[in-house]
Symmetry: C2
Subunit: 303 residues, 2 copies
């Protein structure tokens, strides 16, 4: 199983020469999740060799243009290129009506089933299939906006092949052992799972927190998350502006990471006023050393 | 006075690694016109050093996503970056409601006046100011779609400085002479304009014809146009597919140019099935030699 994150864009609303609007691909085990879909997302996918047809789920944080305007073109391109597999989109309320409006005007009928799930209330478990679950958690922005938490529920234990062979454990028992079950032998005796397997790494978890004022109380909900993406639109000397526009600073992102005791912080959603992002990185690292920049085209390989 | 054309994108609906969706900047004298606004147009403008704030007029051919989906982000970016000058957009009916819908959902108020002119009927003179006029002419596509004709009405005559000096013509008379007026001297005698000026080049004209089946009868309306952009989605061996999808072939674009007796043809809106565009160029040039490809990032300097 592997987990990869590909940054497609990390500008705030006004793009720059080097930075496009928000979008990222999280490949978690066999699931491809597109998180936010700013204008130009389909170009980034095509040019980055990231198949858009493999996307299973799209999560939209909120309905400001820089987070969703690439969606209509992407949905249409999927259809033009013969997608038939259903696609699930999660978003605050209002997206379905917008999609319907566009496709009505352009007389478009998709070749695949598009299921738009609108999140209308507070925290919600939006996805729970196989080994993965996803939660939407409201943040505070100028329009309804959600953070997303995506995590593996459990991770298979690793077989201790030396001991398994010693006890003559046959292959058909391996799956149950990986799940953590004990093994009952033909004579009725039981071998404990701990004897036959090793612990593996903890389940992976990823949190995406964008377009919000600094919400210290939310950090508790992300406690122990392995990787946190948190917006850092401004530097801390513009904290007033951050509050006024319902955004965060690099230092606040780092403080959030620190409170949540995450392993790694990735900051993004940079205002167009900044050409050089080193000051963002330094400001965050001063409080939370394991911080990286969400630079366009950058990929992170977590396991 | 100068006329320049900058190609921002020329793919058809499904973009490719090298080609983005439709958009082009026509700078004609002091007017900046954006013609079609596919997804990613604002990025192309920023990265191509073409100021989006200088755009005076946007012409949208039709409401298929690859021709208008870049509009909402561009309008917002203009506002975020403090545009106050009014902006005029021309489009088939339905665009205003879409813009209102987006800006209502995202709670956006533009800082400038946006005037959306919806074209609902047949041929229409949509702009007539100073020395420039623009016409919208209906073509035949799967949704209402318009070709645009943009032209200088007259061009100033050029002063014959040698003769002007000989007769002691003072500078304050130059403007009237350039407009073609005769000059009345203080003693009442009249110097004819032809004596004091030269003919200049003919007025410039540009036609943009996209997303249409081949319309031979329309060629007459573009008779004598200097530069014609005509879509060439397919090669001629897919003429059936072109007709079925209401598009044209490279040969049909060339035939149109030939019938209209234009000076130069530029072909674009290429289907994603073609990697190499040389066959398009050869097919068109066989019928109309002065043909060029609308390659992304290419600029044409007409005068």
């Amino acid at each position: 199983m592997s987990v990869e994150l590909h940054i497609l864009g990390s500008s705030s609303a006004s793009p720059t020469r080097d930075r496009s609007q928000s979008g990222q691909i999280l490949d978690i085990n066999k699931l491809r999740v597109l998180i936010d879909c700013g204008e130009g997302t389909q170009y980034k996918l095509i040019r980055g060799n990231l198949s858009y047809q493999k996307i299973d789920i799209i999560l939209i944080s909120h309905l400001h243009g820089d987070h969703y305007l690439g969606l209509f073109g992407l949905l249409n391109t999927m259809s033009l290129n013969h997608r038939t597999r259903p696609l699930h989109v999660y978003s605050p309320g209002g997206l379905k009506e917008l999609i319907d409006h566009h496709f009505r005007v352009s007389n478009t009928t998709l070749r695949y089933e598009l299921i738009v799930h609108e999140i209308l209330g507070g925290e919600e478990l939006i996805y729970d299939e196989g080994n993965i679950e996803m939660h939407a958690l409201p943040v505070q922005h100028r329009v309804p906006c959600y953070a997303y938490l995506i995590r593996e529920k459990t991770v298979n234990r690793k077989l201790n092949m030396y001991v398994c062979e010693k006890y003559g454990v046959s292959q058909e028992n391996f799956k149950a052992l990986k799940r953590g079950e004990d093994l009952t032998l033909e004579d009725g005796s039981v071998l404990s799972n701990e004897l036959l397997t090793f612990n593996s790494e903890p389940p992976f978890s990823y949190a995406y927190v964008t377009d919000t004022i600094y919400l210290e109380e939310l950090a508790r909900r992300f406690s122990g998350v392995q990787v946190l993406y948190h917006e850092a639109t401004f530097l801390d000397n513009l904290m007033d502006r951050a509050e006024m526009t319902y955004h965060s600073t690099a230092a606040q992102a780092a403080r959030f990471a620190s409170k949540a005791l995450v392993n790694q912080l990735i900051i993004g959603h940079f205002s167009s006023r900044y050409d050089d992002l080193q000051p963002h990185l330094e400001e965050a690292r001063a409080l939370f050393p394991n911080t990286e920049l969400a630079e366009e085209g950058r990929s992170f390989f977590f396991k």
